[in-house]
Amino acid sequence: MTAVLFQQVSRHFGAVRAVDSVDLAIAEGEFFAMLGPSGSGKTTCLRLMAGFEQPTSGHIEIFGETAEGVPPYRRNVNTVFQDYALFPHLSILENVAYGLMVKGVGKAERLKAAEEALAMVKLPGYGTRRPGQLSGGQRQRVALARALVNRPRVLLLDEPLGALDLKLREQMQEELKSLQKSLGITFIFVTHDQGEALSMADRIAVFNDGKIQQLGTPEEVYKRPKTRFVADFVGSSNVLPPDFVASLGFGNSHASLRPEDITLGEGPGRKPFSGRVVATSFLGAANRVTVEAAGARVAAMVPASLAVPAQGETVTLSFLAEDLHQMDATP
């Protein structure tokens, strides 16, 4: 069953087309990511699902029911807000029980459910504290519990991990993923972090300028970017100009080539090219070596176990023809 369906949905703010004729079908139980830079329309799409925005044109369905014109409080959809939006005047337990309270669930029952939700996000016994007394990571979990306690059919997450430090972010990524698996709820999350989208999502929609540039599994989006924008934004792929691509013996169009698919030296069945090293940087597991070849800048990942070529040195690099991916003419 389709959880969320967008048909030609647009949302304009004056002359700005924040969302421009978007078609989207998100399946039930899916972990779906909307990825894009700020201002690309991904957050507006999320707000259209939550009901905070109404489409300028187009049609939205949530589990087969028409959603446009329906206020947020009548949608069985809950949101984890970017800065959590916890009620500062209520205790943690009252925050989590809020959704059940406004729906008229009795006090004992809703507080019990809230306690269970807090235990689920590993914050048992924190109920009497105030949001101001919790750390960012803890507040994030409370926001999650407050949304999930309502048993929504769709959970929307707006940059849920944006404010957390790296370690906590990685830990939360895993927890979110396993939580989604065990609950079976459709998760839709917005992020500008491609790593997060690739590691968590079942499918990714890459947004730019209010439009979906590409929609597919993380592997598809990463390996076979449809447009230069996707190649550039998802990971740090080399976008090769048409004349350079042609000089390597391919068709005359832009192409993407992942740095990790390029190796130092030649090899059997590999396409060689040479370039002058202009920069190197140490990334821990590998060194990124940038070379200038026939007017194009190409980055390659060289495992840390290999020697790093010196700057100014001319080196030979190679790649497999199948890893080079030619793209549409559109930018």
């Binding site: 206020p71 947020p72 939006a85 009620f87 809020y98 959704g99 406004v102």
Partner: protein, 316 residues
């Protein structure tokens, strides 16, 4: 000479001001003390001191024959407050102040809400001007203007007559207590003018409180299933409550103490302010005037204590 120097420690500025800056930087507490001493002296000696002197006066009594103050400690003056003619004054004033406060809050909230949530740029300036402008003209001028507006020959009566609604006004004025022979000599008139004059003091604190409420809290409430009425009751109102309490302290205490508005507009029955004025002036009964003055202080203290117990300041 260029402004860029190549020493790592810059030379002290010349003269006393340079030495003084360095001294205060090293001893910030002395600077704080210097800045706080004048206002603390003002508050402590002049304000609290005179308040205490006043409180002391209320425990003296007046000799009925000679009219002289009897400097003996007694509660007799406070007992006088309880005789019906005096107690009526207190009751009348407190009820009026409570109603004015309630009505001001109800009228001020939507205005403050609009200003805090929606008004931007030019409209915000217009809001501030609109709220503050009445404060720029003399209070007496405004009150006398209202006397004309509310008078039998005034614009309200005229407008209602044109609309064939005069019967409505007459029906209202024929009611007991709130009525009278015209709006300008009824409690209704006093009430209207009090609300008008104190309105800015209610709007501004509520607006300041609402300004601090993040917009996404309202969205979060709706997202969790709260309809607009529930969002108001459980999120917006509790978060605005400190502002409403602050505003109500202004309107309530200003109404409790005012002696000009009820004198110009309303029935000739006294309010606390007028009673104080009469007792310390013409009657020369300073102890009773002092005892009357203590009443609003006690009421405000009780009010704040109750507000705190009800959790009105939890959102602070």
């Amino acid at each position: 000479m260029s402004a860029v120097v190549d020493t790592s420690i810059l030379a002290r500025r010349e003269g006393a001001s340079g030495r003084l800056s360095d001294f205060f930087w090293r001893n910030p507490k002395i600077l704080l003390l210097l800045m706080l001493t004048p206002p603390l002296l003002w508050l402590g000696v002049i304000y609290l001191g005179s308040l205490f002197a006043l409180l002391l006066q209320s425990f003296f009594s007046i000799d009925d024959f000679s009219g002289l103050i009897n400097y003996e400690f007694t509660l007799a003056t406070y007992r006088q407050l309880l005789i019906p003619s005096n107690f009526d004054i207190i009751l009348r004033t407190v009820v009026m102040a409570a109603l004015v406060t309630l009505a001001s809050a109800i009228i001020a909230f939507p205005i403050a809400y609009y200003a805090a949530r929606y008004a931007k740029g030019k409209w915000k300036v217009i809001f501030y001007l609109g709220v503050m402008l009445p404060l720029w003209s003399s209070y007496l001028v405004k009150v006398y203007a209202w006397k004309l507006i509310l008078a039998k020959e005034g614009i309200i009566t005229w407008a209602l007559a044109k609309l064939n609604l005069l019967w409505l006004l007459e029906a209202w004025l024929s009611l007991p207590v709130v009525g009278g022979s015209s709006l300008s000599i009824s409690y209704t008139g006093t009430f209207i003018v009090f609300i008008y004059v104190w309105m800015p003091f209610m709007i501004l604190p509520i607006q300041a409180a609402l300004e601090r409420v993040q917009g996404n809290l309202i969205e979060a409430s709706a997202d969790l299933g709260g309809n607009p009425a529930q969002t108001f009751r459980y999120v917006l109102f509790p978060l605005a409550l400190p502002g409403i309490i602050a505003g109500s302290i202004f309107t309530f205490s200003l109404t409790l103490g005012d002696y000009i508005i009820p004198q110009i507009i309303g029935s000739s029955r006294l309010f606390i302010g007028q009673a104080v004025y009469a007792q310390q002036g013409t009657a020369g009964n300073i102890p009773l005037a002092a005892a009357f003055t203590v009443v609003p202080i006690v009421i405000m203290g009780l009010y704040l204590w109750m507000a705190k117990r009800q959790g009105a300041f939890d959102a602070l």
